[in-house]
Structures are given as structure tokens and as C-alpha cells.
Symmetry: C2
Subunit: 323 residues, 2 copies
Amino acid sequence: MNIDRIRAAAERLNGHVRTTPLLHNEALNAIAGRRVWVKAECLQHTGSFKFRGGWSAVSALPNEVRKRGVIAFSSGNHAQGVARAARAHGAPCVIIMPADAPAVKIANTRALGAEVVLYDRATEDRDAIGASLSAARGLTLVKPFDEPEVIAGQGTCGLEIAAQAAAQGITKADVLICCGGGGLTSGIALALEADAPSLTARPVEPEGFDDVTRSLASGQRQRNAAMTGSICDAIVTPTPGELTFPIIQRLCGAGLVVTEAEVKAAMRAAFDHLRIVVEPGGAVALAAALFHPNEITGEDVIVVTTGGNVDAAFFANVLTESA
Amino acid sequence: MNIDRIRAAAERLNGHVRTTPLLHNEALNAIAGRRVWVKAECLQHTGSFKFRGGWSAVSALPNEVRKRGVIAFSSGNHAQGVARAARAHGAPCVIIMPADAPAVKIANTRALGAEVVLYDRATEDRDAIGASLSAARGLTLVKPFDEPEVIAGQGTCGLEIAAQAAAQGITKADVLICCGGGGLTSGIALALEADAPSLTARPVEPEGFDDVTRSLASGQRQRNAAMTGSICDAIVTPTPGELTFPIIQRLCGAGLVVTEAEVKAAMRAAFDHLRIVVEPGGAVALAAALFHPNEITGEDVIVVTTGGNVDAAFFANVLTESA
């Protein structure tokens, strides 16, 4: 995995991916005590950065492989990213999804033309379901993060951050990234190493699901005790990736961990001051920037709001609770 | 009022205004039956296009006039636009605002450093209050729409639309604009006449407050029967402007009128599919694109979502009602 692969992905994504804006707002700066720059990947196609990795992976396949189709396991955002990329390439797409995923994610994935196969997280083996389907139809698995072309696609977000930070005159800053398996974090870290070495990528996770932060602290890949029970469903993974963790370990600063209350307050702040919709898992980095100022250095902080696919009822509750 | 004044405003705004994205989404296209392109001015600084006009007006003042300060009457978005522009120029700013304006707009205006003077819409004469303050302090009035430099500033949104439509290969389309007094509509219409004459500006209004639509139909400036009772508070004005209406009459297509139910459904669609926050008055154009397909021509339609300053409780209700 290296920067050349990210630049190659950027060429394939050019004209298909949205260059998301880097937003800022005085009210957020006042809360954080420094300038906050928000890379709004919730405005990306399919509502999350996952479209980058999906497009990168699907577009990298040889034609004869791609036309047989792709398959992905996902709680939602990766599913939508892969589905939209597959449809644009005329490739069949099967998505294996837990039955308790947010309704909006299931509906949106189907609307993007994918065949959605639901399984029970507690009782069924998703890998067995996927293996059986793949063998029968010749589908290619697109992993959610531990896959070079996916990391390369997510890394294109880092190339944009490097260019946008330079345009704003930001010379040194932490770049806080909502982190699940580490595909986005490792991809951005590689892009920054090449194009903006004075920017430091740092993973952010929800309390109780901080496997990457603990892995960085201990030097060895740690596991989460649970896989359910977080509002941040999009970024709950069992352990850092085999490919992503060594990159994160080499390039990233320490992880940050935020509470669910901080996540909801960050979602509310993004609503009030940026007029964007951010899902819980996509708000942890903003939560860290706003509410953990002493764990960050420098006059500027860049955060990636990674997704905006949230059930309306949940979002309404966040607005009402914080009124 | 002409295109040169808009281009001059664009030069003054350069580097201070955000070039807002032109978003699109397959789900919206499916609802509308044609391609829908959303110019997301709710992502503008202060959450609405009004910052363009505010910056244009304040930056056009001679230094010695500007330093005495500016004053504006506004239900909120114009207030925030002028306040932020004034603060950036080091100019004092007084905003005269109805006491029943949304709380978020009052709070945001104060947070932008303005002195907010509240009045009762039913019993007090805002013009008398403003005139007295202006005379005492030498403040310059920045009108919300019937003011050449304000129209010029709003017109810069039209220059961006022309360029972004060309980049997408859109050769012919209606451009639907949420319309109150007509500053944005007339400014965009002038910009399109110069840079994209095959795009047609069209005003959109809420039912019961359709003074511009009726004025276009009758050829004479009509008045609304009421000034209250709409959820679209940001675009309720008594009658089209003296300066804006002749421009609208010369350049715009027929007006469109949408219901409150359609406005709420458009807000929900923007939440679900674009992950942006749009206020009621900022959603009427999207509502027309989605729910009045037979009143629009062509394969593409461009809409301006003009603002995103909405009370959280109201937004939560929209999400809950439409669940």
C-alpha cells in the first residue's frame, strides 16, 4: 500500500466522486477554542466516504471479473458505496447486511439496485452466507477496509484535505478521523504523509469501542469486548485491520475517545452551525474537536464528518433531547 | 442594475463567500421525473445566500461611511448576512428584528456581534425605530432586497450556477428560486441572462404568499393579504420590490406556488438524500421541482435551497410527522 495506489485511485474517481467542501464556522471555533475545519464527507454520493472506496475497488477489477458481480458485507455505508459504484459500472451487486441495520440504510441500498441479503447478527454466520453466494455466482468480495483498493479510494479524501488545507494556509494541524476498521484513517494518513506531512492523522472512536486507540497505546491489535450497543453503528468493528493497523501505527497520532453524549452534541452543533446532517458514527471526530480540546495541539484542527445516513426518528430525538 | 455590477460584487466577494456545491441524487431524480440539481446555499456562511448581499453592500460603502455602522431590518437571514459582513469589515451593526423571529436566528445574529433591537410586528413601527437609530448614530440602511448592491451580491449565486451548470453539461433548464422580495431571483436572472441565457429563472413561493407569482401573471405588483401565518417566514414580504420586479418581469418565467405539506416533504427529502438542513422558506423551490413536475419543462431542473436556519424543534417535528 502506497501513495501511488492512492493517486491511481484518484484518477479513476475523477469526475465520479464529489470533492466535498471544507466547512468552517465561528460558533464551532468558539466552542473548540481553535479553528475547526470540517471535511463534509456526509455530502459525498451515498452520504458517506465509503463511495470512494467502493468506486476504487469496483473500477479496479478486470472487466470479465466485474461483470460477474461484486459482494460486500456491511452495516450500511460501505453497502451503499459499493452498490452505487457497481450500478454505474453495470456490475451486479449483492449486499449481506445485518437485519438490525438502520432502515434508511437498507432502503437506500436497495434503491441503488443492490440485492440485499439480511442475516441475524446473533445467530447466523455472515461469512458462510457470503461464501456460498460468491461460489455459486462468481462474485468478487469487496472488503470494507482491509483491502488495498478500498484504502486507496478512501485515501483520495486525504489528497483533497491536503490541497484544501494548503489553500486555507493551514500549515500544521491534527486531522481527526472517525475510525472503524481503519480504511479511511490509513488512507488519509498515507495521503497526508505524501502531500501534507505537517498534518497528523488521528483516529477517533466511541467509548467502549476504542480498539484502535487501545491498539495504538499497547502496540498490538486489541479487540472490542462487544459488537453491539453503540449508537455509532457505522464504525463498530471487532479489531483494527491487518493491513490498516501497521499504516495507522506508523503514521498516526494517539487515538481519541468520545462519549455518546458528546457525539449527540456534535450532531446538534453540525445541524445548528453547518446545516449538515451527520450520523453518530460520522460525528465522533467533530465531538473530539469540540469537547476534547486539551488532547489536541495547534491553532487549527481538521475533522472528517464521515457520513450522514441516520434514521429520521433518531435524528429528531437528538434535536429534541438537546433543545 | 446590470451584469457589470454583479461581476464587480463577485470580485469583492472572492475569497470571502463560499462557492456552494451543486448537489444531485438519484432518489430525488426519481421523485421529480427529471434530473434535479440543488444549489445548496444553506451551506453558505451564516446559513443562507443573504451573506452574499450583505457582503456586497457593506464592502461597497466608502470607508468613512462604513465605520459609522450599518442597520438592517430582517426576520433573520438578512440580519445574519449583514452582521457577519459588518463584523468582518470592523463596522458596527444594528439589526431591527421582529420579536417573534425564530430563536435560532436571533441568537445567531447576536453571536455575530450585532446589536439586536426587537419590535412587536403588530403594534410597533419598525421604520420609525430604525429611522431614529440611524439619525442618532449615522448608520447606513442595508435594505434586504430593493438595493442595487444587495441584488448584485445575490446575483453572484447566479454566476456560480451558470458555471456549474456548464460544467455538468446542462444546456437548458428552469432555475427555481425561493422568492421573497426578489433580490436573489432578480440577481440570478441577470447573471443567467449574461452567462447562461438558455437557463430560465423562475420564482417559487408558498401558497397564500404568492405576490410575485400573481404580479407576474397580472403584469402589476400585487400585495399579499397577510404577513404572518406561513412556516416560510424567511420569504414572506408584502409585495415585490420596486427595483426587483421589473427585472423579474423582463427575465423570469412564470412563478410556481407550493403548499406547506410540499415544503415539509422537500425538507425531509433533502435530509434523507442530500444530508443538508433546509429551512421552510429555503425549501419551496425544491418542493416545486419534486412535486410540480408538469409546471416545469426540460430534462434538468436547477433549484436553489436558499437557507438552513431552522429551529431544531420545528425540524424535529418535520422529521417525525413524515416518518
